[in-house]
Amino acid sequence: MTVRWIAACAVGFAVALVVSVSAWLFSPVAPAVSAVVFGACALPPGLALGWLLCVAPTNSAYRADSDGDVETHWITEALSGTATDLIVVMGLCLVAVSITRADIPTVLLLTALILLAFASCTMRYAVQRHRALSA
């Protein structure tokens, strides 16, 4: 297992190194600072990727067989409902924007959609869990 953790760390540092070098090569301003910042930001996701590739397959054998769990059913249902919510909200927003000719900033719109998706999925999961576990 130690070897697997070392391999996971190696994957993480490799990812961070690749991102860091890319930032250093392509950053128009302060390439050294960009390399450090991008490398630092890429390290945690890189380590997570390493864990996923090297450690999880042996450490999480139980979860690999989790298709039968009720939690998997709940999250599947919640995500399905979230997709429906997003389509409905985006359609209504499109109609509203078309009529009002409002110029909404893209960043604001995308952030709102992501927050809506998180909220919808969380609420749907919580409701299903509550229904299933209550009397």
Partner: protein, 65 residues
């Protein structure tokens, strides 16, 4: 789908956690199955039947309504 998982589990003297570990699911899954709020997948149903040393039909019965 109706089931008598809870009765059989109590007869065996197992806790919900112990049954969950035996059949490879989470405790919440066992609770949901016992409350008949969740129909388990076929592999899980087979594991439950195996844990109780009986057939699936003995544990799970379809709703006739």
């Amino acid at each position: 789908m109706r089931n008598d998982v809870r009765r059989r589990r109590i007869e065996k003297g197992w806790s919900q956690v112990e049954l969950a570990e035996r059949i490879g699911v989470t405790r919440l899954t066992v609770i949901s199955i016992e409350k008949e709020r969740f129909d388990p997948s076929l592999p899980v149903a087979f594991r439950i039947a195996s844990a109780f040393a009986c057939s699936i039909e003995d544990v799970f019965q379809p709703n006739t309504e």
